[in-house]
């Protein structure tokens, strides 16, 4: 059958050759509707369609207004108006005419009128009042069709207040001799029950009569009512159980006329309806359930798997069996049935199988066990709907053991389908619910990225109702958790709780007193089992919550205790710092308003990945003789080269600790800046280094907190504070190909922890070298003087020249220093950029200097710094032609010959590979490669003209590379050769 339909439908492309088809034969292509549709079909753009419909509506308007338009024409006009309305164009002027048509037309016209009315209007429309009399008249008509039409329109929409006017007439129809009228009357009454239950209360007995009607059709219709009634109040209808069971038994037993069969299944829709009713009746009622076991078993047995519709019955049957009081024998059969569904190759059945499974595992999770593999397969199913249903199922069988995996799966799914809104909604809720159990069960052992993912899930997304609900739900559930016993909760969970409460508590502000969350958090602080790290999270949350007077008072109280003797002895600076911040915040309303703007929460934060806001500091630091930024890799090289004390073990801890102390300093101004400016790591710094080493773990923790807390620093930035006091030191001397490791994209929105941490590490890594000078920040109270700058390399002494001088005016700086708080406004910081120009070409430079500065009231202080620059920083490719190369070669006097090892790769000639390696590492220019010989050129950055050149001639000799270097600078060949050697050994 459907094949036929499809065939016919597929013949449609010949759409406009109207009359050729059997079905289209009835159309009159010359009709106005025909023209309209033809016109629309020929259109290509929405705009044109709009124009055409507007025109059409104009003409309709004209016609309906004309007194000469007959009802018959009106009927045709209405169909056109219906068409326009369907396309989304209002034809409100025609509404009144639709009513008129229903009132005055002949039966056929009336029908179109009623149809138009039911499509155009809704029950709140005042026009409908005009229709009441017509409906009443038609209900009483002797023409069955008119009665039917009236009942149909009444069940579609009827003004609530007017129901009493027609109710008696409709009731009367329940005893109408024609079955179809009785049926429609039942449904109309059901509709009345839905919109105004009170008005039909007196006819409940008549509903029973309908249920007992001699016509099964009427009985079926009445089941709509009973399904609703029983769903609302099963207790009052228990006495119907027997009747329902009897009906079902007769239906299943094939007692209905064959007319009711659908694909030789007796009245399947009726069976479904009855099974649903039985489910409601038998739920949690053993007595009632026992009455239906037999018939349930019979329908299970009779429904042989032969057609879609029998699956529908089976599905309903299984659901009923699992809803009513359980009977093991039936449950077994039902479980088997579910298995068939799940394993079915038909995707619809698989879907329903999963649905059924989801439903039944709530009673017995073991039912899912036999289908494990299928479930896993469904997780990767190409159909998103199946996937989602599977996740729903997994959600139901979550327990302590599998919870982590399931959550991971969910997050994975979530990531894949972020465009589908409802999916996010569902999985978000699922993950949320699960998370609570994950955290309280899995706790500290789980990988840190799970809580991170979870927090991201919460924080991400547009700010809409669902997200809000999710967050509010999280807040509420966490608050109630905290109100209970918290001693057993894992630390990590407590941290997540603190974060969530800190960020989203404002969502529930309306309904509870603002101090309550604060009190809960404060209680957490007082508890012994709370770890230091958790405490710091808690303090962070309190800082964010510090908005209402109640919470401010609470916060102050907490801080006072915290900073009192009991805690001040605590070694943890981070905690102390946070408490201090909070203290200051709680004391200063203005500051609070700036740091915690009420609307600021929703702003997404932008991270300036280019760190341009640091330019000022950079230039200043450079002017002060700071070392240019070097990648860690470079620094290691330098280390090797200088054969200096290996600082490698500290490589990791150093950047981290530095950053943490610089941030600490920014806010509390406790440390002396001397700590920050580091002189050459070789001599004066060793004590400090060992100190850092000793406190590595502590500091690491600190960093994680500062950056791990979502948007903590950034938030304060947006409130107008000094930018992060970090210096990353770009330098004209820096090798051109290596922009410092700041390749991160600007972080989008509130991306907690992970990305932040990554960002943090990449940001801070620049500070880890032994010889970068970290004149990182200038609290406005510190003045910097460049005393003098001297070159300290024994063999080459250069005179430093200050060439350019910049003054940058920074934004006003608010500096939270130790007490008392001092705010410095509009204090401009002068930043000097000094370019050091070397008058002589050199291959290695050590720059050292002394920095003195003075606080307004303090003694002058000084800091030493030094940095060394190696040949690699000075080398640049030299682009010359082979001819020029030849001329230059002859003119250079200093030369050197040496054998180097060859680099061997799979897909390149050894010579090419080696030269490529050199080119990549030392920025040499490969001029030409001829056979086993290659010529290479480079130049120094400094020196007269373009810079002093160095030429290399390479020849492959057995398994080594014979290199001959020539240059006008005496020490250059030697130095370059050394670097070449090093570069090649590294590959």
């Amino acid at each position: 059958m459907s094949d036929v339909v499809e065939k016919t439908l597929s013949a449609l492309p010949s759409l406009l050759s109207l009359d050729s088809q059997a079905g289209a034969g009835k159309l009159s292509p010359s009709s106005k509707l025909g023209n309209l549709i033809k016109g629309i079909t020929e259109l290509t753009s929405k705009h044109e369609e709009e124009k055409l419909i507007k025109k059409e509506l104009e003409s309709i308007k004209e016609q309906v207004a004309s007194p000469n338009t007959t009802m018959r024409q009106m009927k045709e006009i209405m169909v056109r108006a219906i068409y326009c309305e369907m396309l989304g164009y209002q034809a409100s002027f025609s509404y009144i005419h639709a009513i008129k048509l229903a009132q005055q037309g002949s039966v056929l016209e009336k029908r179109v009128g009623y149809l138009a009315v039911s499509l155009f209007l809704n029950e709140t429309d005042e026009f409908l009042l005009l229709l009441v009399n017509t409906v009443l008249k038609d209900l009483q008509s002797t023409n069955l069709i008119e009665v039917c039409m009236a009942l149909t329109v009444v069940s579609q929409m009827f003004p609530k207040d007017m129901i009493p006017a027609i109710l008696p007439v409709v009731e009367e129809k329940l005893t109408h001799p024609k079955e179809i009228i009785r049926r429609k009357a039942v449904l109309a009454l059901y509709k009345f029950y839905l919109i105004a239950p009170n008005q039909v209360q007196h006819i409940h007995s008549k509903f029973r009569k309908a249920l007992c009607d001699k016509d099964p059709g009427v009985m079926t219709a009445s089941l709509h009512i009973y399904l609703q009634l029983i769903k609302e109040n099963p207790e009052s209808y228990k006495d119907l159980t027997g009747s329902m069971v009897t009906i079902l038994r007769q239906v299943v037993g094939g007692k209905l006329p064959l007319d009711f069969n659908y694909h030789s299944v007796p009245a399947p829709w009726l069976q479904i309806q009855l099974l649903r009713i039985l489910a409601y009746l038998g739920k949690e009622d053993q007595g009632t359930s026992e009455m239906m076991y037999d018939v349930l078993e019979e329908s299970l047995r009779r429904a042989e798997m032969n057609h879609n519709i029998t699956y529908a019955i089976l599905f309903e049957c299984v659901k009923t069996i699992y809803t009513v009081h359980p009977k093991s024998q039936l449950l077994e059969k039902a479980a088997e049935c579910i298995g068939n569904f799940v394993l079915s190759p038909k995707i619809n059945l698989k879907y329903l199988g999963l649905k059924a499974l989801t439903y039944v595992v709530q009673q017995d999770a073991n039912l899912a066990l036999p289908h494990q593999m299928t479930i896993i397969e469904c997780l990767d199913h190409s159909d998103v709907i199946i996937k989602r249903e599977t996740l729903e199922l997994l959600f139901r069988i979550t327990n302590a053991q599998n919870v982590t995996v399931i959550v991971e799966k969910m997050l994975e799914f979530l990531r894949l389908t972020c465009d589908d809104y409802s999916t996010i909604d569902l999985v978000g809720k699922v993950a949320e619910l699960t998370m609570n159990s994950v955290f309280s069960l899995g706790g500290d052992v789980m990988q840190p990225d799970i809580p991170n993912n979870f927090l991201r899930l919460l924080a991400e997304g547009v700010d809409n109702v669902e997200d809000r609900q999710l967050r509010l739900f999280a807040v509420d559930s966490y608050v109630s958790l905290l109100q209970g016993v918290t001693a057993k909760l894992p630390q990590r969970f407590l941290q997540v709780i603190s974060w969530v409460l800190g960020e989203y508590s404002y969502l529930r502000e309306e309904e509870s007193d603002p101090g309550s969350v604060m009190r809960l958090l404060a209680r957490l602080l007082d508890q012994r089992h709370t770890s230091t790290e958790t405490r710091s999270w808690v303090l962070g949350a309190m800082t964010k919550l510090c908005s209402s007077p109640v919470s401010v008072a609470l916060a102050r109280d907490v801080c006072e205790r915290y900073l009192s003797s009991l805690y001040s002895g605590s070694l943890n600076t981070v905690l102390r710092q946070k408490a201090q911040e909070l203290m200051i915040l709680s004391q200063d309303t203005k500051l609070r308003a700036r740091v915690l703007p009420a609307e600021g929460r929703l702003e997404s934060l932008e991270v300036d990945s280019s760190l341009s806001f640091l330019d000022g500091y950079v230039s200043e630091a450079l002017a002060a003789g700071a070392a240019p930024y070097k990648s860690p890799h470079q620094r290691q090289e330098d280390l090797v080269q200088e054969k200096a004390l290996s600082l490698e073990p500290y490589g990791l801890s150093l950047p981290v600790s530095l950053s943490s102390c610089s941030i600490t300093d920014r806010l509390t101004d406790r440390r002396s800046p001397t700590l920050l400016s580091m002189s050459s790591g070789l001599s004066g710094n060793s004590t400090e280094l060992s100190h850092q080493e000793g406190s590595t773990t502590l500091k690491l923790e600190g960093v994680k907190r500062v950056w791990g807390k979502d948007g903590y620093l950034a938030q304060q930035q947006s409130a107008g504070e000094t930018p992060t006091p970090l210096v990353e030191l770009p330098n004209p001397l820096l090798s051109p190909q290596s922009p410092p490791s700041q390749t991160q994209k600007p972080s989008s929105g509130l991306e907690p922890d992970q990305e932040k941490r990554q960002l943090a590490s990449s940001l801070f890594v620049g500070l880890g070298s032994h010889n970068s000078v970290c004149l990182v920040r200038l609290p406005s109270t510190v003045w910097l003087f460049i005393k003098h700058c001297q070159s300290a390399n024994q063999s080459h002494v250069f005179k430093a020249l200050f060439k350019r001088f910049y003054i940058n005016s920074c934004q006003s700086i608010s500096c939270i220093s130790g007490s008392p708080l001092k705010e410095v406004k509009g204090h401009s910081v002068s930043v000097c950029l000094h370019t050091v120009v070397m008058k002589r070409a050199s291959v290695q430079v050590e720059l050292a200097g002394l920095l003195s500065y003075q606080r307004p009231l303090g003694q002058p202080q000084a800091a030493q710094f030094s940095l060394s620059l190696s040949l690699k920083h000075f080398l640049r490719p030299l682009t010359v032609s082979t001819g020029d190369y030849g001329k230059m070669w002859l003119s250079f006097s200093h030369d050197l010959k040496q054998n180097l090892r060859l680099v061997t790769t799979e897909h390149q000639e050894p010579l090419t590979a080696t030269l490529d390696a050199l080119k990549g590492k030392l920025h040499l220019h490969v001029v030409d490669i001829i056979g086993s010989e290659g010529i290479v050129a480079c130049r120094l950055l400094q020196g007269p003209g373009q810079g002093q050149p160095c030429l290399l001639h390479c020849r492959v000799n057995a398994d080594s590379l014979a290199v001959w270097l020539r240059s006008p600078v005496p020490e250059l060949p030697d130095s370059l050769l050394y670097h070449c050697q090093k570069a090649l050994t590294e590959t």
Binding site: L9, L144, K178, I180, K191, G217, L227, W269, F315, L426
Partner: protein, 193 residues
């Protein structure tokens, strides 16, 4: 309960839209668009069920759709309807259309929107399934068509004549058309009280 029945073609042009719950004009258009968006991106070999879009009531509701050549038939129903049941109901609907229009095609739906609505009205009334038996539906529709044919006699005349006739208040078309004795007797079904 059925909330809405939508038919649109492969390009998302609505061919029939019937809402059994009140939505504003704009919402209805949005629902049609959203539903088409949801349904059209489904492959052919995936299941016929979809969780409802946001507009039509969220996760409580389901979309059940079938695709026939150029047309999508979508029923939006709440949780009280059986998915597979509705799926077959769509089939019944399409088969009925096919019978009534003698090989139905998209054009029939376009030019006879009113008739399609009338057929639907015999199947679903106010959001409730009224009749699932195709023959029964056709009987009802045929009875109404007879009436149309008797009116067609007048329709054949020139328009002016028609209006003249109308104005003369001609004794109208036959009333009390026999729609057939369609009450089905089930003697042994109702033994209960």
């Amino acid at each position: 309960m059925i909330k809405a029945i939508l038919i649109f073609n492969n390009h998302g042009k609505p061919r029939l839209s019937k809402f059994y719950e009140h939505y504003s004009e704009d919402t209805e258009q949005q629902i049609i668009r959203e539903t088409f968006h949801l349904v059209s991106k489904r492959d052919e070999n995936v299941c016929n069920f979809l969780e409802g879009g946001m507009l039509i009531g969220g996760s409580e509701n389901k979309l059940i759709c079938r695709h026939y050549a150029t047309l999508y038939f979508v029923f939006c129903v709440d949780s009280s309807e059986s998915e597979l049941g509705i799926l077959d109901l769509i089939q019944v609907f399409v088969e009925t259309l096919d019978k009534c229009f003698e090989n139905v095609c998209e054009l029939d739906l376009i030019f006879h929107v009113d008739k399609v609505h009338n057929i639907l009205a015999e199947m679903v009334m106010g959001g409730m399934v009224l009749e699932t038996n195709m023959n029964e539906i056709i009987t009802q529709v045929d009875a109404q068509n007879k009436m149309e044919k008797s009116e067609a006699g007048i329709a054949g005349a020139p328009a002016r004549a028609v209006s003249a006739v109308k104005n003369m208040n001609l004794p109208e078309m036959p009333r009390n058309i026999n729609i057939g004795d369609i009450s089905i007797k089930v003697p042994n079904l109702l033994s209960f009280k």
